[in-house]
Structure formats: C-alpha cells, structure tokens
C-alpha cells in the first residue's frame, strides 16, 4: 500500500473510534448500556440491523462469489422480506410488551429457566465462535494480500472496536454503524464506477453485463432442477432461497440476540417495525448490487489479464515446494491462451488448484475471497485502495460490535444475574456489563487467533455454523408462540434430540445447509409434540 492509502486508512479508522467514544454517553444502567434507553428512531434501527448483518465477509466474498458462481447467491436473501413481516406481526409486539433485554428472557416467561438458559447458551456458543471467524476471515485475506502479520491484523480487526463498544454500549454501536455504512456504501459505489470506467473504450455498463451473461454469471434465478429431479444439495436456488432463506432469516432476526438487541433499542413498536420492514425492502437490492460488482469485475478481466490464482502469497509458498515446475508449466499454458477462451482458462485453473492442493496439504486453495480485493489493490488509484481496505475493517467492526454487545447482554441478564448475583445496584450492573463486553471481545480475538483452515468460502462457514443451531432455536420460539400444548420439559428434551439429529444430518452431507434451518425447526416441534403426552408437566403458560 502507498502512504496515501495508509493515511486514508488510519484517518478513517481513527475517526470512527473517536466518533464512537464521542457517542458513548450511555446512561449507566442496563437499559442505557444494552438498549440505549429504547430511544432509537427507525432509520437508526434500520442502519443498525443492516450494519450488524453485513460483515466484512459480505463485502469481500459476495463479489468473488458472483465472479466464480454467478449472481444466484442473491436468492439466499429472498426469504428475508417475508421473515421481516412475520417478525413484525409475531415477535416484536411480544418482546416490546414484556420489555425484555434479551430474546431468551421471553422463554422463561413461557417455559422455564432451564429453557431460557439452554437457548441463551446455544446462542452464546454459536455467536461467540462465529464472531471469532468474522474477525479471522477478513484478517486472513488482508494479511495474505498485503503481507501483514495475521496475529496483529486479528487484533486490529477485532480489538479496536472494543474501545467504543465497551465505553458506549448499544448507543455507540448504533451510531458508529450509521457512519460505517455510509462509508462502506460510498467505497463500494466508487469501486463499481471505476470497474466500468477501467473497461476498454467503447465497452459500457450494459456491454459488461452482457459479457457476464454470456459466461453464465447473470444466473440470478435458478430452479435447482436437474435431469434427475430437484437437487437437494444445490446451495442456492429459488426454493432454498425462499423457504430455507425464510427460516434462516426468521431465526436470525427473531431469535438471535445480535439482531433482536438492535430493534429492542427502538423508541416503540412502530419504530422497531419500520426499521425491520425497511430492511425487508432494501436488503435484496443491496445484495444484488454487491453481486453485480463481481460480474463487472469478471467482465473487466475478460479484457485484462486475470491472475491464474488470486491468492499470490499462497502461490509463492507453493513454489517453495517440489511442485514449482508443474505450477510454472501451467502458468505458461494459461498465459498462452486467447483472452476470451474461458473454457481453456477454467480447465487450467482447475488443474492449477489441484497442484496447489497437493503442494500445500490441508490448506484451502479456493481463491474466491481474494478476487475483489486483488482487483482493488492492482487497479484502483492510490488513496482509494486505503478507502476500500477501511471499508472492510468498518464492515467487520459494525457486525462484531453488535455481536459483543449482544453476547454481553445475554451473559449478564441470562446467566450472571440469574445464577450468580441476582441483586445488583445500577452501578454494579453497568460495571459488569462493561466487563463482559470486554471479556467477549478478548474471547473472540482468541478464537480468531486460533482459527485454522476453515474450508470453502468463508461466508458459507459462518452461515453453516449458524445453521447448525438456528433451526433448533427457531423451533423453540415457534413452539413458544404457537404451540401452547407443548410445555417446558418436553420442549427441552426435544431441543436436545433435534440438535443431535441436525449435527448427524450435517455430517452425513446429504442436503444443502440452508435446509437445516427448516429441518431443525420442524424437528423440535414434531418431537416436542410427540413427547408431550409422556413428560411430566409442571409449568403454567404465561401469555
């Protein structure tokens, strides 16, 4: 990076931290720290919801995904608007009426303490680990592309935001997310403009899309059907997107405290609902545009020489092994191909990846996540590279800060104040809330530091991890809302059995991960229903 890039990067990141600390005037009690005194207008709720969902991985991986697999990934978000409607009708009124701090608090009202604790615990485990991955994933990419030390990058990626998240709680998180999103959108819009601008003269936006379309990158809607019938292992198609995506979004926005905690900060029901519904309107087009950026980058590389592998550091390491000659040979063959010979390129790239795999055993040689940033570093002007790197940090900070805030709220409200010290003064509440926020920050950085090779596309790793727990947690909430005949003990046993089933199904690798949400939710309900007649009932229903 040039010194101009460093200046832009440092000023942007420092500016956000200062702004976050400036906005840290939280009232020193639980309501002020975790819910910003429930005083947020809908547009701040909207930006906070969006900033929490869109992590660094979203902005790094999505264009790369469109580059390699086309735009069909957008279908993954089709169930989201429908989920927003259901959450507004069912979840929001109940959460707001009960004035809960966490979504799991409601489960104690409806069932019992152990159900609340189990669900909160599942959330804390999955969110704690996935936040660690959210730190590690962009750090790995940046450190690899820019030659930075991965351990220090993890600390900056996950550590700097702790300053304002600990001091300012939910209020600082929401206000910084607002600013972060503005910068992220400006950065991505400039990148989009420049990709088209850098095309050869005479090639415009529509030409670039046509070129992408000719190469199968504009496959926005896919049916998942093959000559043999519906492909259940196909990750993204309209059915898995609408149905699986609906259950995933319902679980994520309705039962994941990192999102519930955002709309609980709203002034009232109306502001919460407006924020959620507006998210249902803007999310799919936003994701569409980010993916389109990937198609434009693909078209750009039809006129410019694309690297045979976008992760150069990995190639350099592979060339230190005995496979050097094989790799050089494939590179020469690749260079001799005509620019438009995509079949030939793809064949040699596959061979190249195979040799890389052999030379670096156990390493993930998928370079999807490196495509967009490689383009940024190689082709964008000085200063803008720094801005785009800052965009990655800010996107990461937005989602990590919300995760830390929600993890701390669950540990304080669902665990500490239930099992350790029930009666605390407002000052003590505030003090332990800050302590747990800091503690979760350190935990997530440690997860990032110890994270090893994570398999295929990083965005999927995070989603898969969520999907293992999300379906079951959603099932618990659906029973709470709609199946009053199922009581606490039957539900508790059912949730544990269902979770074991989900892990078995995932390991058997017979179905795409998006369907695990649907299966998990249905399993909890069905098993709970079957178990209820045989389990002793002891708790009244609180509605």
């Amino acid at each position: 990076m040039s010194y101009q890039d460093w200046v832009v990067l440092i000023i942007t990141l420092t500016g956000i931290i200062i702004y976050g600390v400036y906005k840290s005037k939280a009232t020193k009690n639980l309501d002020g720290y975790f819910l910003s005194n429930r005083d947020m207008p809908w547009y701040l709720v909207l930006l906070s919801i969006m900033g929490t969902q869109a992590s660094a991985i979203t902005f790094i991986s999505a264009p790369g995904q469109a580059y390699t697999d086309g735009m069909r990934f957008v279908q993954y978000y089709f169930g989201l608007p429908l989920a927003m409607i259901v959450i507004c009708i069912v979840f929001v009124p109940v959460f707001n009426r009960l004035k809960v701090y966490t979504a799991y608090e409601f489960l104690e009202n409806r069932f019992d303490l152990k159900t609340r604790t189990l669900t909160s615990f599942l959330f804390q485990v999955s969110r704690g680990l996935s936040t660690g991955i959210s730190i590690y994933a962009p750090s790995l990419i940046l450190s690899s592309l820019l030659g930075w030390n991965i351990y220090y990058t993890n600390i900056i990626m996950g550590g700097m935001l702790i300053i304002y998240t600990v001091t300012g709680g939910a209020r600082a998180v929401a206000h910084t997310q607002k600013l972060q999103l503005v910068i992220v959108f400006i950065g991505m819009a400039i990148a989009g403009y420049l990709v088209v601008h850098l095309m050869p003269s005479g090639v415009g936006f529509m030409d670039a899309l046509h070129l992408g379309g000719k190469n199968g990158k504009m496959n926005i809607i896919t049916s998942g059907r093959t000559p043999e019938g519906f492909d259940w292992k196909d990750k993204y198609n309209i059915w898995s997107g609408v149905i699986g995506g609906f259950f995933l979004a319902l679980s994520y926005f309705g039962t994941d405290q990192s999102q519930v905690g955002r709309y609980l900060t709203a002034q009232n029901n109306k502001q919460s609902k407006l924020g959620l519904l507006m998210n249902g309107i803007v999310k799919v087009p936003m994701q569409f545009l980010i993916l389109m950026l990937g198609v434009l980058v693909f078209s750009f590389y039809q006129y410019n020489k694309a690297p045979i592998h976008f992760n150069e550091t990995q190639v350099e390491r592979a060339k230190e092994t005995s496979y050097k000659n094989q790799l050089n040979q494939l590179e020469s063959e690749y260079a001799s191909l005509a620019p438009g010979d995509n079949d030939g390129k793809s064949k040699i790239k596959n061979e190249y990846s195979g040799v890389l795999s052999q030379s670096l055993p156990g390493e993930d040689v998928n370079d999807t996540n490196y495509i967009f940033l490689r383009f940024v570093i190689d082709y964008l002007p000085k200063g803008l590279v720094g801005l785009l790197i800052a965009v990655i940090f800010l996107a990461a900070w937005g989602s990590i800060a919300a995760a830390l805030n929600s993890l701390a709220s669950c540990t304080v409200v669902d665990i500490h104040k239930k099992y350790f010290k029930k009666e605390l003064s407002e000052k003590e509440d505030y003090r332990i809330s800050k302590f747990y926020t800091f503690g979760w920050g350190i935990f997530c950085i440690l997860v990032a530091e110890f994270a090893s090779n994570l398999g295929n596309s990083l965005i999927e790793t995070v989603n898969i991890l969520g999907s293992l727990f999300y379906g079951v947690i959603l099932g618990i909430f659906l029973i709470a809302f709609w199946f009053k005949q199922i009581r606490a003990n039957a539900l508790f046993v059912s949730a544990i059995i269902s979770e074991i089933f989900i892990i078995i199904i995932y390991n058997a690798n017979v179905i795409s991960f998006l369907w695990l949400n649907v299966i998990g939710a249905i399993l909890v309900i069905v098993i709970g229903y079957l178990l209820q007649p045989f389990v002793k009932t002891e708790k009244k229903i609180v509605s």
Binding site: V74, F78, P81, L82, M84, I85, C88, I89, V90, P93, V94, R97, R110, L209, H210, G212, G213, K214, M218, N219, I220, I221, I238, N269, K270, K273, L277, G280, I281, V284, P285, F288, A480, F481, W482, K484, I541, S543
Partner: protein, 46 residues
Amino acid sequence: MQISKQDKEQNALEKKDTNWNLFYLVVFLFLVLQIIFYYFITKHFQ
C-alpha cells in the same frame, strides 16, 4: 396462536396511525416484483 390480548390491543392502537397490513403487502409485492424482474434479467442476459 399465542398472542395475548394486550398485543392485539397494542396492534389495534397502532393501526390507527399506520396501516401495517398495507405496509406488509408492499414489502411482499416488492419482493415478488423483484423476483419477476430478476427472472427477466436472467433470461435477457443468457
């Protein structure tokens, strides 16, 4: 469905200043229109 009387009353009160059902319909229709639009884009650029 276990939505309490208070929630129903709260929803009814809010209906006075916001027609939520209309808003839900707009969100739903916007999704449907997008899917149709994306379908035609997919066909157009093939």
